[in-house]
Symmetry: C2
Subunit: 337 residues, 2 copies
Amino acid sequence: MGEKAEQILLAHGSGGRLSHDLVGSSILKALPDPVLEKLTDSAELELDSRRIAFTTDSYTVRPLFFPGGDIGRLAVCGTVNDLAAMGAKPRFLSLALIIEEGLERAVLDRVVGSIAAAAREAGVRIVTGDTKVVEKGKGDGLFINTAGIGELGDGPGFSPERIAAGDKVLVNGTIGDHGAAVISERQALGIGGLASDCAPLWGLVKSVLDAGCKVKFMRDATRGGLATVLNEAAAGRSFGFTVSESAVPMREPVRAFCELLGFDPLYMANEGKMVLVAAPEDAERALAALRAHPLGRDAAVIGEAVPAPAGKVFLATAVRGRRILDMLVGDQFPRIC
Amino acid sequence: MGEKAEQILLAHGSGGRLSHDLVGSSILKALPDPVLEKLTDSAELELDSRRIAFTTDSYTVRPLFFPGGDIGRLAVCGTVNDLAAMGAKPRFLSLALIIEEGLERAVLDRVVGSIAAAAREAGVRIVTGDTKVVEKGKGDGLFINTAGIGELGDGPGFSPERIAAGDKVLVNGTIGDHGAAVISERQALGIGGLASDCAPLWGLVKSVLDAGCKVKFMRDATRGGLATVLNEAAAGRSFGFTVSESAVPMREPVRAFCELLGFDPLYMANEGKMVLVAAPEDAERALAALRAHPLGRDAAVIGEAVPAPAGKVFLATAVRGRRILDMLVGDQFPRIC
């Protein structure tokens, strides 16, 4: 019973010996950390600051593997980016797995390996975890939850309340890559050149802040995409946004994918894109700092905050038209992250 | 589309308007918190201590409701108790829901109400969250993950390394209640008198520590029960444990349930039971402190650490026999928490 089973069994989630074997041979082996290894009820940690950011996300992406990433890389990057968006230095992650009985052990090992690599890349430690197994047909291979703790500096924070008309909107690169890659892979569309942008963004954010740019607001543009981030920031406020369609960076395969299938790339999920808003006098310096970072080479100023119409987001299109970018009502696609 | 739907739709997890409606009308309404309400990527928090405990658990219990609790109460108490077991004062929880499409909105609201009540009872704040929806047949109604942050004091911590032969083992009350209640409800066995012991234990732990009892080790006896906690504590150490069967508190319906179905109550999950180990000179005071608390009325000294055989747990049975309480190999029952 102690051997490495080919498939995950219900008993691997029981808290008994098979659970210990799974944790020992798959999880701790890939994620060696002196705190995690203790397997105590909670991780005991020492922070450098009493001011923290705390976040959680569950990842249910399907398929588990896609060009540019997998559910493991996503589970690290997504949570790290939620911390980075607050200006918090990501320090510690929790890792909770809900495995469907019958998942191949090799699949789990590959995902855990990817988690380990992404955590190293992001400079975060995985210090506490949990594994549950549900019966076949009661899950979908693997769901992952990560919660994260980051340390906040002494700055004023990043909030849409700080945005004023005239402020510039920046993004660190091409949009829609993650959504297009996952959908294409899921539907086996065989469209070439698509790859998720999934990446941890704290290093990028830090380089902008270290350059002395007074960023007022940041948010990573995941589910719902760029349009949703701007809608949420503008909702109920005294300003709106205009976005210049031609200024929004987009890869050609993503543009072609969206045209072919009738998707709007402005609503497509990204997993390595931060939207930043800065005062006009800071925008150029922020742009330069973004472009100097490997994850910001295609950064651009894509729009600005405007006094009217307040609370709305408008797209200035290439043909000199203007259309509203409303909040997404239903679903563009489920299970994208 | 903005109306309160009867069932959860995939679009409720999309990050668009329906997601906002769900969060606003179900979650924030039940869980009003100034930090959670901001709906930022991460919660910004101020701690009283830089020394923290951090933990995560996913809850996949089936059925969602059972005598004495439900998945919501469990998701709060389980995580609070993992912090309490480290001697950490529970402060902040995250709440991540994975909902199966088609879940009745009323069921979700009832669970969220239960989360709110349990959080109040435990004195913790829910400050950050996430909601995902998966297709019908890809989940099982509702899975919940909570991660928790607690503040550690300056004491030496609670670790099995501190245990020495002669130390006493205590538990704060009857064992097996949670497991028996959930299994009975799931199988519709109709056995009366069973109810989960699901309760937040920080208040109880604090009263023991405030009484000046030098507790060496604590762990809440969830999956795998009392026997698993003691096996994990003894594994690879220079001591073992003996447990006196007749000293272990157990309700009569739980005893009858276990006899009827052939379960061993020492391996049954609890959700309101802390196992404590204290030096002999502290044990009586710890017992008195436990018994003075409403959640410790049935507390008892149930065994002790012994020099040999090291690493093992033995049960001294009523008929003066002795049997080994080994680590559970497979599954006693899945989906118990």
